[in-house]
Symmetry: C2
Subunit: 527 residues, 2 copies
Amino acid sequence: MDFLIHVDQTSGVALHRQIYDSIRGAILSGRLRSGEKLPSTRALSKTLGIARATVTMSFDSLLSEGYIEASVGAGTFVSRALPEELMRPAVQSIDPASLEVITPKVKARIRGRKRKDGSEPGSSGEASSAGDPDKVQGYRLSWYATALRSRQWLNFSAEEPAVQLSFGRPAMTEFPMRVWNQLLLHHARKRNLGILDSPANAAGFMPLREQLAAYLSRVRAVACQPEQVIIVNGSQQGIDLVARVLIDRGDDVCIEDPGYIGAQKAFEGQGANVLPIPVDKQGIVVEAMKEREIIQPGFSPQLIYVTPSHQSPTGVVLSVPRRLELISFARRVGAYIVEDDYDSEYRYKGRPIPALAGLDHAGTVVYIGTLSKVLFPSLRLGYLVVPLDLAEVFTRAKWLADRHSPLLEQQVLCDFIRLGHLERHVRRMRNLYDQKRKLVIESLKQHFGSAATVLGDAAGINVVVRIASVLNDHEIVERAKAAGIGISSTAHCYLSQPPRGEFQINYAHLKEEAIDMCIEKLAEIAL
Amino acid sequence: MDFLIHVDQTSGVALHRQIYDSIRGAILSGRLRSGEKLPSTRALSKTLGIARATVTMSFDSLLSEGYIEASVGAGTFVSRALPEELMRPAVQSIDPASLEVITPKVKARIRGRKRKDGSEPGSSGEASSAGDPDKVQGYRLSWYATALRSRQWLNFSAEEPAVQLSFGRPAMTEFPMRVWNQLLLHHARKRNLGILDSPANAAGFMPLREQLAAYLSRVRAVACQPEQVIIVNGSQQGIDLVARVLIDRGDDVCIEDPGYIGAQKAFEGQGANVLPIPVDKQGIVVEAMKEREIIQPGFSPQLIYVTPSHQSPTGVVLSVPRRLELISFARRVGAYIVEDDYDSEYRYKGRPIPALAGLDHAGTVVYIGTLSKVLFPSLRLGYLVVPLDLAEVFTRAKWLADRHSPLLEQQVLCDFIRLGHLERHVRRMRNLYDQKRKLVIESLKQHFGSAATVLGDAAGINVVVRIASVLNDHEIVERAKAAGIGISSTAHCYLSQPPRGEFQINYAHLKEEAIDMCIEKLAEIAL
């Protein structure tokens, strides 16, 4: 045997394990070749000065795992079933070029192979991320993956600035975390670890679905049965499930322009033909879809995605006439309305407007609710309210996606709603955010004067401001960043030509004293 | 005005709210029609005996929400922008037939509309679930949804029997829940609610990814960087993401037959051409794929899905020669190997065999790890280890799917591994399960004798038993159910003709005394 078995009596690793490791290593690295004869256990025990039983133990393991094979009367051999090429040391290195050495034929074959549907996901005109997005080391990815790779992706900075205006985060210091943690511990202690592990419960913890159905009826005028409520991991999963269940490649999908990029990307990922519909002071311009109908007879979008409570990003609230017009249009052309009702809790002017899902009773609306912005973002819980006849297929889709959302947090949230904490918290926050909102508006008026126009301040936890500046958006963002302020222009939310100088100010999580300081600083930068 | 405004001074609801509610209700129910003139605030205040300012407040709300509109000098009117048809009372009822009344034209149009790709997801030959699976109330669903609806779905009973042998559940009473809960409370108390809310972190909490990379290197011989580890909500989400990123409609996908149904359904949902590959005592028969290559020149499956540590459901361990043969084959034909390494922790005979991901260094293997069967099923955490060049696209797919997995549980799990609890727990359980496993086998021998053959007892937390019985599978299941025992035949795991009398016995969660009782009962039933 031209390989060495290292045995170290003092190493603490059992001797039979050391022998096993040495022989296995020699086989896998190619030092011992397929079909090569091994010394007998007797010979090896003598050479190593180790009890024969110990050596036999190692051989038994190697035998049972198929590294070696015994031939009666002839001895023990390295398994002949081990493919030769895998034994070569080259394979052990992490050199990506090794693939090319091994499989030039395969690569050529794959190169010649065409997508079965002939379509080109990367052909949206946007810049490719790197090289051929369709191939990874000669392997082909799916159309979906290629769409994700080839299109421009969200590009957020990894560092967190001192003051962050870019994301809609709640005032986390105000969250009743003690109450939440008490409930968490209560349920953690008494948890029945087995429940929920069945496809029937993929839609979620039934008592929570009941609480949510009642909550929606109280605060959003949505009359639904608990069976229509599907618990998901935040609104993004809701959007993704909706995209998968409703959209096929090539389907027309209407979205708001500007709009929520997480939805746009999900629809594009499904291959939707995404149609940007303009937004005015009353929300999505239904008339624009009607005009399209004239130009394109038979126009029948598969779905229309809207954020009616607080349009993302402009903050416009969809007016009641527009709501009714939208429902009427959607029914007429056979489109689903997907109502992403984020930020519906915080409305400062007038009474809450009923959700589209509350105005419609014909199964036209799929409602997406989130609690991330009301509770805290790292809690991944949201819900869908789907027409009753879609509940089963959404439940199956949820099961296939990840079986179910984590149970413990569902139980905690259920109690949090049942005991009135949610509505109490929302009421408290509404007042607090209203004060902050007023401060933002005052402060903008003071420091920017007529150079700033505020939009979308009737609801939600941010406003949009249009700034008349000599600087371009990129310059403002960069200079703000240098001053420790994270701010994003809304340009990335537009599919059409974005306006200049439009920024989001998310104020909910800011301390009151930070608001004025920060806006003063921005004025110094921009004006 | 032919509608009544009900005002109740004692109700506790503010008067302006009562007026608002009455008028709004009248508009939405159609009692007040579009364009109809409202009384003046002065007149209404007189009629109702209420301060004019109160009435004005209600009108302002209705005005700002678009229910009514004011025309200078002419008075106030129900908004003309409200589409007439929505005002009809019929719409308020939840009568599904109402849609048909409203939109016969739409239905006809949709009926005439063909799927853009011309394919038929429901045409797999299996029975349709109900009516036309492609349509819901005249709306069309996606190909994916139709595939989910038309194919036979998993059919588990909602009631839980006294003894459940059907699901692979761990011995939950043995889980160190106190330790877990201490960590949970610790992190819950100090949680930084803001972190993880960015696309860069969709792949998960970096310290956990580092712990898992180190853990895999220790116990599975998988050398990977933390950047290759993507945290997901249990292995089902891992499978689903793999399906979405790697599979296009029409792609050949090889799966084990019998195999794991959750994977099969996910691949079918993506439109894969699922090819069942037989399993023998060494695991998936790679030779069968090679034979297919001869019959079908250019055969190049997109991926090969395997459960090598403990084949699902047979329990066979994929032998080392077969592993190497599989890797070699996959590389040659340009297929990804998807290694679902569930149950790898529990191996009773011989040493753990290195994972396929540990044997391959050329980016051929996507590894799926789960902790549900080691910790507890309602914890939804698992992970993928993907070739480095796929990490970015998987992270994007995860972001679109649900942004990220819940942070708190990731932090807890990270500490649980870091402090050695995971490996300690696995070692303890391995001994415990080994005892139970032996008991199952002894008990089967005692009560069934030669009428039972045990398979797949070298690893995992279940065995498969083939029973020679005069009864058919369905009769055995039903009689066991009547006796309080939940048992599933493996028939639903087969794409080919299933054998008769093959059942799974999941023993991990059973008390030792229950095991013998239960098997004795089954023998009484079956023999």
